[in-house]
């Protein structure tokens, strides 16, 4: 890895830990949006964070990476379509697999420091599932966060529109009906 790349990844890690100077954030986020490899790094670092925050759930045995790699090798090859407009299951699965592969290394990395007191996970199949779940958890975590914020905005919109007295019909009925998690 080149020094420039290494420095970039270091800055992403700092961004994740809220330790980056606020003025640098927008430029780095621009880079993140444009660069697929950086996006992957971002996802991996998020997973590291999740693993570190949840030791009881995410600890893996030392041969975990090898078992996950073997399990992935048994999977049929899935070719992700190039066009961005098709969010097919196949593509999502391919993305999950890519994350699972990189996750194996992450789990081992973190597992080494936590593993001594933990029981090894039972089977390769379980581990493969856990890896995929972790990858999904990271994505879903971000999605849930965005959903919660969207809900908050929606609630405030309806509340404020009502109080301003110009919301037409149903400002508060809409509010009573908004489901959590939408």
């Amino acid at each position: 890895m080149q020094d420039k790349d290494r420095e970039l990844r270091m800055r992403i890690s700092l961004l994740l830990d809220s330790e980056l100077d606020g003025r640098d954030n927008p430029r780095l986020i621009d880079r993140l949006e444009e660069d697929e490899s950086l996006k992957e790094a971002w996802a991996r670092y998020n997973l590291v964070g999740d693993v570190m925050r949840g030791p009881g759930r995410y600890v893996a045995s030392r041969d975990f990476a090898a078992k996950v790699s073997a399990a992935i090798a048994e999977e049929p090859t899935v070719l992700a379509p190039k066009t961005a407009s098709h969010k097919s299951t196949a593509r999502r699965r391919a993305a999950n697999l890519a994350l699972a592969a990189s996750l194996a290394a992450v789990a081992v990395l973190v597992g080494r420091s936590l593993n001594d007191h933990a029981e090894a996970l039972q089977t390769a199949a379980t581990q493969r599932q856990s890896a995929s779940e972790l990858a999904l958890n990271a994505t879903e975590g971000l999605e849930n966060q965005a959903e919660a914020q969207f809900n908050d905005y929606l609630t405030m919109h309806n509340e404020t529109a009502y109080m301003a007295g110009s919301a037409g019909v149903m400002p508060y009925v809409r509010l009573a009906g908004i489901r959590a998690g939408r």
């Binding site: 969207f150 919109h157 509340e159 404020t160 110009s166």
Partner: protein, 330 residues
């Protein structure tokens, strides 16, 4: 004026009179006036009558049931709306406060500004202003909740707003059914009374909140800001929308400030949220949630979200027209 010219003028005047009285245009003007009167009657009925009912509220092919109670004692209104399905939210309005209970997040919002608006139905006092952007007309009489109701159609005059249809009870003047229509005149949100009972009085106990709140509940915080302190210029706002409020929300453990600007044309509202761009990979995309369209974009170190019950092009136009006043347009 010579006699000859006068003799031409009189028949023209008679023709114009006939056209004015019997043309479709005249009928629509008459319908417009009746429709406006019915809407104002409905607004009055909502605030003056004692009633209880069950409402079905539909959006995104999902239905919610709500219980509504409205009472007036010595001219003071009280209102309570209770969600009958999960998440069991409750809204209570008294003379001084409006309180919203959100049991699923153990949070509540309390607004102490006097609120004299119905939870269901709000209209500006002056419909003439609204008439610049919407036309009003009458539709057929239909039965809703076993009552005869006249349809009132509110149609936008441009493609920057949604249309509405209301069915107003001929007897009580209460609005019994409501539909919000998108730009293709498809119903995107609907509310209808399944049952309605107009009563002499509603016992005060039934208008009190039933949600029990303990010390673990949070009260949502926000700060009202003077509108002239706004440092954002809004260049893409369609004609007729005005700024109704400017507030600063406090969110998260660190009390992060989020600016909230509310715009309205009288019956359609659009909110603008300006938040700091945090540690996130930004994904901008238009979204639709029932009647609400939203649009998010990045602006320097900020994330701007625009949402409201308006077409996607309206929220996008507003979102793309936001600029920091001290900086050149981007």
């Amino acid at each position: 004026m010579t006699f000859l010219r006068m003799s031409n003028f009189i028949p023209r005047l008679i023709t114009l009179w006939f056209l004015a009285v019997f043309s479709p245009w005249a009928v629509s003007v008459e319908g417009d006036a009746e429709a406006r009167t019915l809407l104002l009657n409905a607004k009055q009925a909502m605030s003056q009558l004692n009633y209880r009912g069950i409402i079905s509220y539909m959006k995104d092919n999902r239905m919610e049931s709500l219980n509504i109670l409205h009472g007036v004692a010595q001219g003071v209104e009280q209102e309570r709306v209770l969600s009958l399905n999960t998440p069991m939210r409750e809204l209570v309005r008294t003379a001084e406060t409006v309180t919203c209970y959100y049991p699923e997040t153990k949070s509540m919002s309390v607004d102490r500004r006097p609120a004299r608006h119905s939870f269901l139905f709000q209209l500006p006092v002056d419909l003439d202003d609204l008439g610049k952007y919407y036309s009003f007309s009458l539709g057929a009489v239909e039965y809703i909740a076993r009552r005869q109701a006249r349809q009132v159609i509110i149609e936008p005059k441009d493609d920057m707003r949604f249309g509405r249809r209301l069915w107003i009870d001929l007897e009580s003047k209460l609005p019994l059914k409501f539909e919000l229509l998108d730009e293709n005149k498809q119903v995107i949100e609907q509310m209808v009374f399944n049952s309605l009972s107009i009563e002499q009085m509603i016992p005060p106990g039934e208008l009190s909140p039933s949600t029990s709140v303990d010390g673990s509940w949070k009260i949502k915080q926000y700060e009202v800001l003077p509108t002239d302190s706004l440092n954002w210029s809004l260049d893409g706002v369609p004609e007729g929308f005005r700024m109704m409020s400017y507030t600063r929300l406090k969110r998260g453990q660190e009390n992060r400030a989020i600016d909230h600007i509310l715009l309205s044309d009288g019956i359609s509202s659009v909110s603008i949220y300006i938040d700091q761009l945090m540690n996130e990979v930004f994904t901008a995309q238009p979204r639709r949630f029932g009647a609400i369209n939203s649009y998010t974009r990045k602006l320097d170190g900020y994330r701007v979200t625009v949402m409201g019950e308006a077409p996607a092009k309206t929220v996008q136009s507003i979102g793309n027209g936001i600029h920091w006043q001290d900086s050149p347009q981007r």
